[in-house]
Amino acid sequence: MDVAAMDAILAKFPTIRGNLIGILHEMQSHFNYLPEEDLRYLSKKTQIPITQIYSIANFYNRFSLKPKGKNTVCVCLGTACHVKGAERVMDEIKAQLKVDVGESTDDMQFSLEEVRCIGACSLAPAVVVNEETYGQVAPKQIHGILQKFKK
């Protein structure tokens, strides 16, 4: 558990009311997931019941209670991407990384996620790796894209 990091995050928020999700976002990006100990610390500090925090962490897709890989590969399965064959791209990524959606590779290099529409429909099918968006992705490009992020 990282008290210093947690206090730094909490210091960014003048009030707790209306900011819980913002705090969890900060924690998610700092720790790459929401560690139990830190959530309990958050609960103590903010007086928000841990069950409420746990419930929120479970409800929203952006939060993860399991550690995530160094790189997040996010395949858009929005309507436009679906119609333009995103499933094939997804299957290819699954095969190459040997993981399912929501899982991370054994070496913790990659986590695979799906999202329903990132609003880049004109680029369909789209894949986002970390912050970088790839448009009109064909299954055969996957290997190259993943290679770029492999250490």
Partner: protein, 593 residues
């Protein structure tokens, strides 16, 4: 030293999410470097700026090169193309013809009427100065000198209706919130834009964030609120960043904060990030989410304009609704009411995606025939395929078949056709799209995204997906359609929130217009579009096959064999029905059966 005699050089590079993904920032850097290299920077102070999305993201990176007031637009610009553009066009005075936009770009824009998007693609969204220079914040300043009731009357008279889905008259909503008792009131902006296939709100915020802020200031004054919230999806990092910056700039100018515009009014806006839950776009869920809870909707027997966020009267409007407000104040209700159809006023932005040539964002006057949007602006269906349907309204909407193509696009006609305006996503489908599969897709979406509180939505939609799965797997029986209809009726009647009550719409509308497809799946065990794997097989028409080997080389399963220049065959046991051969064959030799 360049030999040009030009004095004014403005280069506008598209830097919305589409433009950035296509490398927009690299192009900006390349232009700056190249202008420096040619010595133009020193003498002419050229302006290289990023602008919001102009809608035609499929052609990104789009760049406007303006030399002495004369503008040429380039498409698919990459950093490599920058040097020739600078030397031939800017220095030499001769635009590089081969890289200029083609006719389709002009057709795409000609039938549109850009009001909300007028500034997108023209001004730098990160510069409040450019917005002000384009006339921005004049409306807010004017409105603050007017009485709240006067503003509400104008908005009512303009006929503006909510752009977030329901199409509720905005002026009436403001009025009830103004009349609600209580000192503390909130104005909220819904930028959750969860409908898959929709990105107008993202583009507005990325391209013209100040318009939304200005609208909210006007609304806050009319309603009597000192605090506003924008609830925006975390999936839109660029939009969040630009909005954050715009808010800071507005505070610096005293357009937000204490005593704004030099009046007695206080008003500020806070950003609240969503966290990936479609249901949080629903008004009560959005408010619960801001209240630090899981975004579960509440029954709306008391309106949120009376009891909303933290129990206080709250007025929620969509991004596009807010962005419409300043120009109504500026140009008047009469002008605005003159645009659009009888009961749907103004323009509407649609995101045109799917099986369409000109993918992008289009803004058209309400009431324009659907056909114009798809076949004129959209340029029709690629690869000469047949248009089958267009899906509007996202997961709550429905599919509109070819027979209704001449329908005017407005709230009334869309609901009559069994769909809805929704937020404006428009997904075009061709003969290769299976309507059962599409319905299944939307219902699965609702199963994944529903909150799970109430029984009909949680259990009922799940059961509908199960039935649809069985149909697409070839296990459908004559009972399936009846059960689907029975479930749809109950879910519609009894769900707690609008996510549930509208979840069955895709099935209801496809059953209405494409029942034969369901029946083909159930009785003939055949998927006419060749999408459902269990009900499709591909074979090669020996008469058409030229033996080019393309399909055999690309088949991931190694299921295609044949000699060069001889007809090929697909081994049905090995085929995984991935469609690659079908889509790639240049001779139409791969057939679906």
């Amino acid at each position: 030293m360049g030999s040009t005699t030009a004095k004014e050089i403005v280069i506008s590079v598209c830097a919305g999410t589409g433009g950035v993904a296509a490398g927009g920032f690299n192009v900006i850097e390349a232009f700056k470097a190249e202008l420096d290299k040619n010595g133009l920077s020193a003498n002419y102070q050229p302006r290289v700026h990023k602008v919001g999305c102009r809608g035609f993201c499929a052609k990104d990176v789009l760049v406007d090169v303006q030399v002495d007031g004369k503008t040429e637009t380039y498409q698919f610009v990459t950093p490599e193309k920058v040097a020739p553009i600078v030397s031939e066009h800017i220095v030499g005075g001769k635009p590089v013809k081969k890289w200029l936009v083609k006719k389709d770009y002009h057709i795409f824009h000609d039938k549109q009427q850009k009001l909300v998007l007028a500034n997108c693609g023209q001004i730098d969204p990160e510069s409040i100065e450019e917005y002000i220079a384009a006339g921005g914040y004049r409306a807010a300043s004017k409105a603050l000198g007017m009485g709240p009731d006067e503003i509400i009357e104008i908005i009512k008279a303009s006929g503006l209706r909510g752009r977030g889905g329901g199409g509720f008259p905005t002026g009436i909503k403001w009025e009830s919130c103004r009349r609600a008792s209580g000192v503390v009131k909130y104005v909220l902006c819904n930028a959750d834009e969860g409908d898959p296939g929709a990105f107008m709100d993202r583009s507005i915020i990325e391209g013209n964030p100040h318009a939304v802020i200005e609208g909210m200031i006007i609304g806050a004054h009319a309603i009597g609120s000192v605090e506003g919230f924008v609830y925006i999806r975390a999936e839109y990092p660029l939009a969040v960043e630009r909005l954050r910056r715009a808010l800071e700039q507005a505070r610096e100018k005293h357009f937000l904060g204490k005593k704004i515009f030099g009046t007695e009014m206080d008003f500020d806006i806070k950003i609240v990030l969503g966290a990936g839950a479609f249901v949080c776009g629903e008004s009560t869920a959005l408010m619960t989410s801001i209240e630090d809870k899981a975004g579960e909707p509440r029954p709306k027997y008391v309106h949120t304009t009376d009891r909303g966020l933290w129990g206080k009267p709250s007025n929620l409007n969509n991004v596009e609704t807010w962005a419409n407000v300043p120009m109504i104040i500026e140009k008047g209700a009469k002008w605005y009411a003159g645009i659009g159809s009888e009961r749907s006023k103004g323009t509407k932005i649609f995101s045109l995606v799917g099986k369409i040539n000109n993918t992008g964002l289009v803004e058209v006057p309400m009431g324009i025939p659907l056909r114009d949007v798809i076949f004129k602006i959209g340029g029709g269906i690629p690869k000469k395929k047949q248009f089958k349907a267009v899906q509007t309204g996202g997961p709550s909407g429905g599919c509109i078949p070819a027979s209704l193509l001449d329908m005017p696009l407005d709230y009334e006609h869309l609901s009559e056709a069994g769909s809805m305006m929704g937020s404006g996503g428009m997904i075009v489908m061709d003969e290769d799209t299976c309507m059962v599969d599409v319905s299944k897709y939307f219902l699965q979406f609702c199963v994944d995204e529903g909150c799970g509180q109430c029984t009909p939505c949680r259990e009922g939609v799940f059961q509908m997906v199960r039935l649809l799965n069985e149909i697409t797997e070839g296990k459908g029986t004559e009972k399936h359609i009846g059960l689907l209809e029975e479930l749809a009726a109950t879910i519609k009647d009894t769900s707690l929130c609008a996510l549930g009550t509208s979840a069955p719409n895709p099935v209801i509308s496809t059953l209405r217009y494409f029942r034969d497809e369901y029946e083909a799946h159930i009785f003939d065990k055949h998927c006419p579009a060749g999408v459902c794997k269990a009900l499709t097989h591909f074979y090669i028409d020996a008469d058409k096959c030229t033996g080019c080997t393309l399909c055999a080389r690309n088949c991931p399963a190694g299921a295609i064999t044949g000699e060069k220049k001889e007809p090929h065959v697909i081994d049905q046991d090995k085929c995984i029905v991935c469609r690659i051969c079908y889509e790639n064959c240049k001779f139409g030799a791969v057939q679906k059966g």
